[in-house]
Subunit: 252 residues, 2 copies
DNA sequence: GAAATAGTGTCTATAAGACAATATCGG
DNA sequence: CCGATATTGTCTTATAGACACTATTTC
């Protein structure tokens, strides 16, 4: 296996397992971090996108893209810190939920050269986000597993993976709780589940599942309205998401 | 938010969203791919490790590490191709299952500089692997979520994540089928599940689940032994893993 | 009281857990 | 027949799905 190509060996093996001098002066891929930021706005699942600049050499000028950018090795201690920095820059919010989604790397995904991006996805409450938004970003509602504008790079593919992962996990986890404001009612939480899944859930089963999980606790307040008031709840201090033993609807 | 640090901006924003000239001449992280390769050997879940060389400048000389190495941008079309190449180099096997595990990147995980690795995990059948193994690799049985030798870099952490992901998924997927030889019996498949999960499963429920899934098909052959023969099965052509609606044992 | 939504209860269906019963081989 | 393992069946339990019913507010 070794010694097939001169340059191949230099980059492929020397630095890690080769017996020759471990040169590190071979070309390295561009390294970026991108974040898929979800929220619930206007009764819809929405994702935050950035309009790309149009300076000289900018790929995909003027199109929309996921928030992100190059890893700054002088500034970012690790990948997650880099993701949190970019999240804060665009939203002014400390996300209650940030999960690594995957990485995409290839020779042709960026016209500037071989590049790899580390993609994350974040969930933030719909409330109180508007004010802190950066100037160049905008929310877009999800249509299926994508958005209306054509995205830069392979970001449509990354977004699709994020939506699929989110929808999939919502079937058996408490992730939508991270899309809720501090205080919320059970019907409101159920509505969030239904928006993400794009399908109605049984009220009774939903309540049983949520209340039997060690997830939320009632507070001494009710949500008033033109009808029967609803009990308000808040997330328990335990930050970890809950995993249920079953999905919501058994597949046919 | 923009313009906080001179160097920070150069690397962090210019190339992707800045309005200034998009220079690409800032330092890039080292980029590697590592693979956690699992198999079943000697009634145990085992992982493939490589002994690192001890040339000049080699970090962690002589210790064991996950198979992997630098991305070769001249040779590897994309990250997955890079992972498949390294898998084939070490095992001579085309893995029936390869999944992205996640990425780990930080300033200090590699003494040679800021580095990011894209980790994959692979499942290969225990049969017919021995012959094609590279010279510098070795199987190690899992003890809990790790192995006996101390691993290089942050590979113990990556291995732990892989084991947890595997055990977690085995609760509700057909992944262990990829650890089986071409022909196998239901009790043998159940044994594989039990080895990975390190816990006994109910025979009856297990059979019902496997047979009602569109996963395996009986062949016209039986496994003979000193007792009642068992029906032999093979995986159906459909390569995709099956996701069940429930986990095996409801958590307490 | 009517409308609207919150919350509970009742019945059924599905699949797992426990474990017994039966089947089929080699000796 | 005996030992061993494969395969099937029976009964119970837990939870989802469907959907009816009751509760509490505003108007």
């Amino acid at each position: 296996m070794a010694g097939r190509h001169g340059q191949g060996d230099a980059a492929g093996d020397q630095g890690r397992s080769g017996a020759k001098a471990p040169g590190l002066d071979f070309p390295r891929p561009l390294t970026t971090v991108d974040i898929v930021i979800f929220t619930i706005r206007q009764e819809a699942l929405q994702v935050l996108l950035v309009r790309r600049g149009s300076g000289p050499g900018e790929p995909f000028p003027g199109t929309f893209a996921l928030p992100g950018g190059f890893v700054d090795i002088a500034r970012d201690r690790d990948l997650e810190a880099c993701a949190r920095r970019k999240l804060a820059e665009k939203t002014g919010v400390v996300s209650p939920y940030l999960e690594q989604l995957g990485s995409w790397g290839s020779a042709d995904r960026d016209p500037r050269g071989w590049s790899a991006t580390h993609a994350y996805f974040a969930l933030i409450p719909g409330s109180a986000v508007e004010a802190a938004l950066a100037a160049d970003v905008q929310w877009f509602p999800l249509e299926g597993t994508g958005v209306t504008p054509k995205l830069a790079f392979d970001h449509a593919e990354i977004l699709q993976a994020a939506v699929q992962r989110l929808r999939n996990k919502v079937e058996y986890t408490s992730l939508p709780a991270y899309l809720m404001p501090k205080e919320f009612t059970l019907p409101e939480l159920q509505r969030t589940y239904e928006i993400v899944l794009d399908r109605a859930l049984e009220k009774s089963a939903f309540r049983t599942r949520m209340l039997s999980a060690d997830l939320i606790e009632p507070i001494a307040k009710m949500r008033k309205g033109p009808n029967r008031p609803a009990q308000l709840y808040r997330l328990k201090k335990t930050a970890a998401p809950v995993y249920f033993a079953r999905t919501f609807n058994a597949p046919e």
